[in-house]
């Protein structure tokens, strides 16, 4: 059994099915990349995994714990072991960059003042934005926000990371740097991750396995090499276009 186990997951909005029957497993310390066309429900799937959207039916197990129907307090506790990078970064716009990064640490009350400052500086250095520390989110570019969002998600040293398009909106060079950073942290902290991306270059760097979501089901699952050899027409079209 994997660290993340998804079985027969179904979800619909206003009667329109988005996920029909999703089955996925991610082993501890591994990274699964999910590919798929825009609007197929990749973000919805990630939000399901962290309990932001309630599924219609199915099962999502994280570290063996079933999260569908979980008591809200337990869900909050579980989420503290997880990190989530939002597609739009979702920075708190009433706080500076510093405030955004300190916030999850202060709420957890595990570190003292000095450790918090050190941790914030370290995270900003990792994403290459030390100069932005006193800026407000509205003063940042889209790509900068994304990187601050990444720093905020990782600052609590989660065991499980969910990335929604970590490199979208970044220039190719920064995108590659961020992919390498994700890969590096992965190895250093044995994170278990799921990353949604359209960026094949990023997938090449971070993925242990890839899955393709299409029409509400996982139509391919395997390594990137398997993917290149796949005979599935949708997979072929997807690779040809990438």
């Amino acid at each position: 059994m994997g660290m993340i186990d998804i079985r027969h997951l179904q979800i619909s909005f206003d009667g329109v099915p988005i996920l029909r029957d999703v089955n996925l497993t991610v082993e501890k310390g591994r990274t699964l990349v999910i590919l798929g066309t825009s609007g197929t429900g990749k973000s919805v799937l990630l939000k399901n995994i962290i309990g932001l959207i309630a599924a219609d039916s199915g099962s999502i197990r994280i570290g063996g714990e079933e999260i569908i129907g979980m008591d809200p307090e337990d869900l909050y506790k579980l989420r503290r072991r997880m990190g989530y990078l939002f597609q739009g970064a979702a920075l708190y716009d009433w706080m500076s960059v510093r405030g955004n990064l300190e916030f999850p640490l202060r709420r957890r009350e595990l570190l003292d003042e000095g450790e918090i400052i050190a941790r914030v500086t370290e995270q900003l250095r990792l994403v290459g934005l030390e100069d932005a520390i006193d800026k407000m989110p509205s003063q940042l570019s889209g790509g900068m926000r994304k990187r601050i969002g990444l720093a905020r998600a990782l600052i609590t040293r989660p065991e499980i990371m969910l990335y929604d398009e970590p490199t979208t909106g970044l220039d190719p060079i920064t995108g590659r740097d961020i992919s390498h950073l994700i890969q590096h942290l992965q190895e250093q902290h044995t994170l278990t991750s799921i990353a949604v991306t359209h960026d094949i270059a990023c997938a090449r760097i971070i993925a242990d396995r890839v899955a393709i979501l299409d029409k509400g089901v996982i139509c391919f699952e395997g390594t990137l090499d398997d993917m290149s050899g796949s005979t599935d027409t949708f997979v072929k079209r997807f690779i040809a276009a990438a």
Partner: protein
């Protein structure tokens, strides 16, 4: 038509549920007192100039309007009493509530609404924070505490305003004026008025937060939410005021 009634019933149900959740969570730890103080400070500072001006103005206006009317009955000396009683019992609470609805209620719903559409509320939830308690309950508490304070300020300024009006028209002694304004007030004028402002504050907080917190439909939805918050809260406040007025008169006269 039937659909409209059903929608209305649904709305009432949802809002009641939301209000109940606020009440219940307000009395459960952790209390987030730092957040509450922050909101009190921000919302108070935001409304003070507006509310202060309102107070002075209504004092001036009622004094100017009531003097000739009372003079008709040879009751000019009742101007201070007339002002203080009408302001404390009714005008202070209702005008403050309506002004704060326009200023703060709409602001809260726009703020929470934009947090919702930009997924900042989801971001709080994801980092293990109960966003309802952190964002909603703290604001509702702040509004509930704020309204009695602001109303008190309005009442005092209104009586001052009335005194200014009196000064320009006749020769009055400050001593006599304030003595008459204050001693004509009974406890039964003051206590129900304070209780009522608490209810108004709660309404402003709950409606403003509900509209914003449950926004759907992106940025356009945020605009609707904030207009709706003002309309709904204003109507609800007027209606509540009517019910409470009747109730108080029945109980205390």
């Amino acid at each position: 038509m039937k659909a409209a009634y059903l929608r209305f019933a649904g709305l009432v149900g949802n809002t009641t549920g939301f209000a109940w959740r606020c009440l219940r969570d307000a009395f459960r730890p952790p209390y987030e007192s730092k957040e509450i103080l922050k909101h009190l400070d921000e919302l108070g500072a935001k409304s003070l100039p507006l509310v202060g001006t309102t107070g002075l103005m209504i004092g001036l206006i009622i004094a100017i309007q009531s003097r000739p009317v009372l003079a008709r009955f040879g009751a000019e000396m009742y101007v201070p009493a007339m002002v203080s009683i009408s302001v404390v019992r009714e005008l202070g609470p209702i005008l403050t509530a309506l002004m704060v609805t326009g200023r703060v209620g709409s602001g809260i719903s726009a703020e929470l609404g934009s947090m919702r559409v930009t997924e900042q509320i989801d971001a709080l939830e994801v980092s293990g924070i109960n966003s309802f308690r952190y964002l909603v309950v703290t604001r509702v508490i702040a509004c509930t505490l704020l309204l009695p304070l602001l109303t008190g300020i309005v009442d005092v300024l209104a009586i001052l305003g009335a005194f200014v009006a009196a000064l320009t028209e006749t020769h009055v002694s400050a001593n006599l004026f304030f003595h008459s304004a204050v001693y004509s007030l009974w406890l039964r004028d003051i206590i129900p008025a304070i209780l009522k402002t608490v209810v108004f504050g709660f309404i402003i907080g709950v409606i403003g937060c509900r509209q914003g917190y449950t926004v759907t439909g992106g940025t356009a939805g945020v605009g609707h939410a904030s207009t709706n918050a003002v309309v709904t809260a204003s109507l609800l406040i007027l209606f509540t005021d009517l019910v409470l007025a009747k109730l108080t008169v029945l109980l205390w006269g």
